[in-house]
């Protein structure tokens, strides 16, 4: 257990390569997701609160990919910090988007924490995405006055965010990472064992 605790805390145990890969997986999709951030606000403006369900899952996608590839505790959170570092200076929503995004990453780590970061299958990825979606929703619930909405709308929001996270970040993230593993670029990581099996 002590070893596990060390593994959780120590950035020192991270090889430079892992750090750079997690950072690159944050910064590049972070830039690619910028249009989604802006489109998200437009969708939300046009469709109301339920509109966020359509794209919210995409925001945790890089984190789940990083965690699935590097397989170290905290990879998703660290990736979230890197994504936020892109968003803080490049979007006017900056901090307002960055904080829920980091909270979502904490959510994505919870299911893996329960299995002590040993299982990496579709079920885990979906659970992790759903958990990220729900925690992210929790972070924006009160600032967006969602508690004042009609009950069916609230239920729709909660279910929708969970599903959006599970599909758009969990399963899509696994799909992308598996395809990446097929190319051979991830030969240094244990993802390739899963794909070959």
């Amino acid at each position: 257990m002590a070893e596990f605790g060390n593994q959780l805390m120590g950035v020192k145990n991270w090889e430079t390569r892992d750090l750079l890969v997690v950072a690159a997986l944050g910064i590049v999709p972070g830039l690619a997701l910028l249009p989604v951030v802006f489109a998200g606000f437009t969708i939300r403006a046009a469709l109301g609160p339920l509109g966020t369900v359509l794209n919210s899952g995409l925001f945790y996608l890089p984190g789940l990919m990083a965690l699935y590839i590097v397989r170290k505790p905290g990879a998703s959170i660290l990736n979230g910090i890197f994504v936020s570092l892109v968003w803080i200076p490049l979007t006017p929503f900056g901090l307002a988007v960055a904080i829920p995004s980091v909270i979502a990453r904490i959510g994505s780590e919870i299911p893996f924490l329960f299995t002590r970061y040993r299982r990496y299958d579709s079920g885990m990825m979906a659970a992790s995405g759903a958990s990220a979606g729900l925690l992210a929703l929790g972070a924006i619930y009160i600032p967006s006055s969602f508690q004042t909405l009609a009950i069916p709308v609230q239920v729709g929001l909660i279910v929708g965010h969970g599903l959006s996270g599970a599909l758009l970040s969990g399963l899509l993230g696994k799909l992308l990472a598996d395809k990446l593993a097929d190319t051979g670029v991830l030969s240094a990581y244990s993802v390739v064992d899963d794909v070959e099996a």
Binding site: L20, F41, A45, I88, P92, F93, G94, A150
Partner: protein, 273 residues
């Protein structure tokens, strides 16, 4: 849309020369409070203060500021239009009906919640603009490492990875050229764009991961992360200017909240309700 990054080599406004951490420290308590207020007056007051501080203290041209802020105002306005239709609750059913349009009724309470929420989001964004428009990413990273003692391995990995961003453009060009050579039509319709997102994702990720691994090797070769402490080429310190700014901002904010309290304009906070 892309926010232009200020160049710190220029003269720069007062805010640009502050330590980024002090700017964060100044706005964080106010943002925390704004997340909880339920009346529209407090956010409105902070929208004005935030915009004034950014434009006056930093000397950003008003036109540029308005261009960045315009979509935010549009977003805030959308809340006023949409919330009246989706808000429920006892307060919604007893309040006065303003407009009746078939089965849809716009009630005063719904409009009130919409205005409060829209202005709250606007105020949060305006405050974050105060930081965003006046801070360069690299000086923010340096400040995180030097002032907040974030592990430098994280800070400098981020800085190294930031260098990948401009290369993304040339990567896209190259993948596109490779596709064209192999006979993929090079059109610009919506369907082609969607197709491109799908078929470019993997090659772009591959390029990025390879680049990250090469960069990591180069950094390792230069003994990155071997020692706990390190020296810095650019130093980021906390000066009297930073302390002054934080105290001034906090005082003005507290005075504002106090005044609103006196005027009975400060609604109940969400946690107290």
């Amino acid at each position: 849309m892309r926010v232009e990054l200020p160049d710190q080599g220029d003269k720069g406004g007062v805010l640009q020369r502050l330590n980024p951490v002090s700017k964060l420290l100044a706005i964080t308590p106010v943002m925390g409070l704004l997340m909880l207020v339920t009346d529209p007056y407090t956010p409105l007051a902070f929208v004005v203060i935030g915009a004034l501080v950014t434009v006056v203290l930093d000397g950003i041209s008003l036109v540029r500021y308005l261009r960045v802020a315009a979509p935010l105002v549009a977003l805030a306005a959308s809340f006023v239009f949409i919330y009246p239709f989706v808000v429920s609750g006892p307060s919604g059913t007893t309040s006065e009906i303003l407009v009746s349009l078939g089965p849809l009724r716009v009630r005063e309470a719904g409009l009130w919640v919409g205005a409060a929420t829209g202005l709250r989001i606007l105020a949060l964004s305006v405050l974050s603009l105060l930081f965003v428009l006046t801070t360069e990413t690299e000086s923010f990273l340096r400040a995180l490492v030097q002032t907040l003692s974030v592990p430098y391995k994280i800070g400098y990995s981020a800085m190294a990875a930031f260098r990948f961003a401009p290369m993304l453009q040339s990567d896209i060009e190259r993948v596109r050229a490779a596709h064209t050579v192999r006979g993929v039509p090079d059109n610009n319709g919506l369907r082609d764009r969607l197709y491109r997102v799908r078929s470019y994702a993997i090659p772009l990720f591959v390029n990025t991961i390879r680049r990250a691994e090469r960069t990591a090797l180069a950094m390792d070769a230069r003994a990155f992360g071997v020692f706990d402490d390190r020296t810095h080429y650019h130093t980021q310190s906390v000066g009297w200017r930073d302390v002054g700014f934080v105290i001034l901002f906090w005082t003005v904010s507290a005075a504002l909240v106090g005044t609103l309290w006196q005027l009975d304009a400060l609604g109940t906070l969400t946690i107290l309700r």
